[in-house]
């Protein structure tokens, strides 16, 4: 077949089936983005961020292997695991990893002066945003879900049959499911926010720090304001509640709990709204590398 015929055939196909074209473009964008930017040596510190608790728990398993492992100890370790998940992963680890991964999706291409290749491809800019977002989400979710799984496995494996019973016959499996769900939602929520910030600001670090501050102090604001933070929805879905300690405890306003369904839906709606904002922002974007 002649080259001109191939071109004509591809044009016909994309006109007749635009949604299939969008789907295939998103798949290619995700594939290229993951290979090119995310699984590289430059990203090692993000992997470390995810693996630090795993290494700490591993050390705990090795060092405390001769300690008694009764039900009280399981209860205690469950609280420790809740602290690792809720304080470290959901507040810090996923937050900073998403900041690094998602702000680099567009800013990285501006720094490397390669964004014009994306803008010169026959791809709608909304599709570009969705493709890049999904690439970031795939990497962040895979990384942190693996880390959470490893934490749970290590934490309960040292208890032998009691640990196995806690996971498979007790509340363990449900807790694990909740943590995995919250991890995925945290990656989506923070990812969408950082993607939008990278399109709004040349240097998204400062707004990122402001966002960190907001996520931290949101609990002292009225319930309606708390709903504008990602942490609000994540907290509603966490299977083990942690007591509020420190000076924040005095000012914290505990909102009415919302159902898990509303929490998931709320966070997904927040993510979609922020992505829609990113789609709007990308249309205003111009290639002026010298001005960056």
């Amino acid at each position: 077949m002649r080259a001109q015929d191939l071109v004509a055939r591809a044009q016909r196909w994309s006109k007749e089936q635009p949604w299939r074209l969008f789907g295939s473009q998103i798949f290619i964008l995700v594939r290229n983005e993951v290979r090119r930017n995310l699984f590289t040596r430059r990203r090692i510190w993000i992997y470390l961020l995810a693996l630090i608790p795993v290494l700490i728990i591993l050390a705990h398993v090795i060092l405390d292997r001769n300690e008694p492992a009764g039900p009280a100890q399981i209860e205690n370790d469950t609280q420790v695991l809740a602290g690792i998940a809720q304080v470290y992963y959901f507040r810090l680890g996923i937050f900073f990893a998403c900041m690094a991964i998602f702000t680099w999706l567009f800013r990285g291409e501006i720094v490397e002066r390669t964004l014009h290749y994306q803008f010169l491809a026959p791809v709608r800019r909304e599709v570009l945003v969705v493709g890049k977002f999904l690439a970031g989400a795939v990497v962040a979710t895979a990384l942190f879900e693996t880390a959470v799984l490893a934490c749970v496995f290590l934490m309960y494996s040292r208890f032998g049959s009691a640990g196995k019973a806690y996971v498979f016959d007790g509340p363990g499996l449900g807790q694990l499911g909740s943590y995995l769900l919250v991890t995925a939602l945290a990656c989506l929520g923070y990812g969408a926010a950082f993607l939008a910030l990278s399109l709004l600001f040349k240097n998204p670090i400062i707004p990122g720090v402001v966002m960190m501050g907001w996520e931290t102090i949101a609990p002292i604001f009225p319930a309606w304001a708390q709903r504008l933070s990602v942490a609000f929805y994540l907290k509603q879905l966490c299977p083990v509640s942690l007591p509020i300690r420190g000076p924040m405890a005095i000012f914290t306003i505990v909102p009415e709990p919302i159902s898990p369904f509303i929490a998931v839906l709320g966070l997904l709606c927040l993510t979609i709204a922020i992505l829609a904002l990113s789609c709007f922002l990308i249309h205003r974007m111009e290639i002026t590398y010298t001005a960056e």
């Binding site: 591809a10 290749y117 491809a121 026959p122």
Partner: protein, 316 residues
């Protein structure tokens, strides 16, 4: 609308970067063939090309490429290929992937994209080194791989920003031949270059730019005719240069007639070339002078550029 569907149209386009002028009130239409954008650095050539391809948006005015705008990216970038001046590449990519994956984004299947990639690499003379990392390419190779990517999907409009930069003479000649072949197929080829002699030879028309303004636009001879203030230079190789020079001086419109150092020709500067050619015919038919060759000596872009903006159009 019909003309818009077949032309590249700039309608009163201006672009400002804050308070800095990029281009101002640009209006013209371009048909198929090779068009050269000529002007010194900072004259607005790249801005015009970036506006044309949607990398930047006009502050005012509108641009249509074959009736399409970059707001319709799928249809638009099927028709347009742009080889930019940015000498940067996705990290870790090789020549083959650099062309193959954008083709997949066009909607070509694996085999189709592979076939078009091989064809583009062949046309750009890069087939032998396609599997090597682009980071290891020479400047000329990087230029050619970008050109290969721009032509791989067989666009109708090819925009080339300084496409001859960094190419050795052989590659330069091959690239020029490629542009000419593409233009002969009825495509629009828009080239910006500082190498005036080369674009002069291959261009069907020129757009001369200075400080963000289009100072002249059209076929090189038409543009030359617009430059009434500057006499046309005509070189005549002949047997009796002194007699021809004397005859030429009798005409009011001839401002200079200089006998060449070898004595076998005259360089005439005239404000009315047509009248001079009539005189020349008379002299030749009268048998006073035997003429070997007659050629305009300043009918090229460089001369026109010097006349129009008092610069040679080279790098500032």
């Amino acid at each position: 609308m019909t003309s818009r569907a077949h032309q590249i149209v700039f309608e009163n386009v201006s672009k400002f970067y804050g308070e800095v002028l990029g281009v101002n009130k640009v209006s013209f239409s371009l048909g198929p063939g090779i068009t050269s954008l000529v002007g010194p650095n900072g004259s607005g050539k790249t801005t015009l090309m970036n506006l044309l391809t949607g990398l930047i948006r006009p502050s005012q005015g509108a641009i249509y490429v074959l009736g399409l705008t970059p707001q319709q990216p799928i249809e638009f970038f099927r028709q347009v290929g742009y080889c930019t001046q940015f000498d940067s590449f996705p990290p870790g990519t090789n020549g083959y992937d650099f062309i193959y994956w954008p083709l997949r984004l066009h909607g070509f299947g694996r085999d189709q994209a592979a076939k078009l990639t091989s064809e583009a690499l062949e046309r750009a003379g890069m087939a032998q080194v396609a599997r090597r990392k682009v980071a290891g390419y020479s400047k000329g190779m990087r230029q050619r791989i970008r050109l290969a990517q721009a032509i791989a999907h067989h666009p109708s409009v090819l925009v080339l920003d300084e496409p001859l930069n960094g190419l050795d003479p052989m590659a330069r000649a091959e690239s020029i031949a490629l542009f000419e072949t593409i233009a002969k197929q009825g495509m629009h080829v828009i080239i910006s270059s500082h190498i005036l002699e080369e674009v002069d030879r291959i261009s069907d028309r020129v757009v001369l730019m200075s400080s963000g303004y289009v100072v002249a636009e059209g076929q090189i001879r038409e543009v030359r005719r617009e430059v009434h203030d500057h006499p046309t230079q005509i070189l005549v190789r002949c047997s009796n240069a002194a007699r021809l020079a004397a005859a030429a001086f009798e005409l009011d419109h001839v401002v200079e007639a200089k006998i060449l150092n070898d004595g076998h020709g005259v360089l005439v500067r005239t404000r009315d070339a047509e009248q001079f050619y009539l005189l020349l015919n008379k002299i030749v038919s009268g048998g006073l002078v035997e003429v070997d060759a007659v050629a305009p000596a300043d009918d090229d872009v460089n001369s026109i550029y010097q006349y129009l903006i008092g610069s040679d159009g080279g790098p500032a």
